[in-house]
Symmetry: C2
Subunit: 282 residues, 2 copies
């Protein structure tokens, strides 16, 4: 940013002005980074001239998995953001009293530029929602970017979209990813071709900023990071098992899986059946 | 955590088991840190034996300001978390298509142990919601903990609850806090007696973990941090103006205030009138 030209500076200020106001950019992706895949022209031609980013929402979704990246990616208002489910009835989230209302149905939404699947503490229960997996498969196969946060990557895997791709997920469920042919990577954000996957829950913010830099440019991502004051200072150093130590890690893992087992006692069988399904039908 | 005793270890595992399951703790605040204020016995006597944490929600709320700390504080399910507004109709948030439904009204909720006011990009519009400010004043005056995230501290100030208290807010609106007698502090989380305030938007996660350690104990906060994999790795170093540099900061500030001015052209007068009101009536 040191040798910024006058033109560039004016561009940034003009761009930032559309934060939280109505506006869109003429020069989509003008400064795409080298390792980005080329964006198909469809990226510029969706709803109202804006690319469409669709979050899949479902019962039991972890709200922060979606609200983190959605907040980051809404900065600038240059994307059309939709929340898609099979019908328009509110879905109950993992957080008591918090529901999300879908903005569009699977049937109504036929063109997705950026697909994002958030996660849940119990992804196994979702592996029986076959219409959702089929829609994710169809939309993801045509999307410019296929992304997820937390255990959303397990749903992407179950939709047959991670075969041979490196991907992240919540630390406690890393080994499940390989069942769907994905290559689990212990990183907060993983980019492999047009797949971008985030790690557990709060990784959605880092993921959102990374995705924004990929699909738009670094300046927009930096503006979003400043607007959301993302200069994290965790009060403890327990954000990953390697730092949290054995006791805290075991207690947390036990809590997560006792919840899964209570809600979906046959989760291991579901996982095996789901892994078989992708080689059969996708 | 190195010399943890067997009893302590069993306590942690037992505690963690209530994550995402029904349960509450007998030993509230057993390991409260030295600088905590003593928790009144009322803290243990609210709804269903659980202390009540109430988030005030309102039109234009920034979803992440609330979902960040709510997700952290819901881990363990030992709190009764409510979302309070004047009626039960859904409130539209700052994020298009995302609404929150209140779980209880101002009138219905008479006992709050922990009050939390989330923020918005345009707090000035809320300074005319006098019933909300009066309710915040009343509930906050009796609460064990009075807290906020982002510009929620401006609303706490306008409710007369920050006179003489150190407090944080979004970096772009720091100077407004002093109009309500607060002492703005440029930190991510500020603790002053029983007031805990967080900085801008994403600071709500650090705030939530800090609050959890204060009102419960450090082990619970560490478990929550690991469950939410909060080991942040921002892709850029632009989370505060000092790092973001002049161009990005000016562009972001201009965007924020052009939005405020568009929606609330008389925001400066509203601020002055609101500051006068707290010395007149509270």
């Amino acid at each position: 940013m040191k040798n910024i030209s006058i033109d560039r500076r004016n561009f940034i200020i003009k761009s930032a002005l559309t934060i939280s106001s109505i506006g869109s950019f003429a020069n989509q992706n003008a400064f795409a980074k080298e390792h980005s895949v080329a964006l198909p022209s469809a990226m510029k031609a969706s709803s109202g001239g804006k690319p469409t980013l669709a979050f899949v929402i479902f019962p039991g979704i972890t709200p922060l998995d979606m609200i983190g990246p959605a907040t980051v990616l809404a900065v600038g208002e240059w994307l059309n953001i939709e929340y898609v489910w099979r019908d328009l009835l509110p879905v109950r989230t993992e957080l008591e009293h918090i529901s999300f209302s879908p903005s569009i149905t699977f049937e109504q939404l036929d063109k997705v530029d950026i697909l994002c699947v958030p996660g849940t503490g119990n992804p196994y229960a979702l592996l029986n929602e076959l219409d959702m997996l089929d829609w994710i498969h169809k939309a993801g196969s045509k999307a410019s970017w296929v992304t997820s946060v937390c255990t959303g990557s397990i749903l992407l895997g179950a939709a047959g979209l991670l075969k041979g791709y490196k991907a992240a997920t919540h630390w406690s469920m890393m080994d499940n990813l390989s069942k769907f042919g994905a290559i689990p990577v212990n990183k907060r954000v993983v980019i492999d071709r047009n797949r971008i996957t985030g790690g557990g829950v709060t990784a959605g913010i880092d993921f959102g900023l990374t995705l924004l830099a990929e699909i738009k440019d670094e300046e927009h991502a930096q503006i979003a990071q400043l607007a959301l004051q993302y200069n994290p200072k965790p009060p403890f150093n327990s954000g990953i098992p390697e730092f949290a130590g054995k006791e805290i890690t075991n207690a947390t893992r036990q809590a997560i899986f006792s919840n899964v087992e209570k809600k979906t006692p046959d989760y291991k069988e579901i996982l095996i059946r789901s892994a078989k399904r992708i080689s059969d039908i996708y």
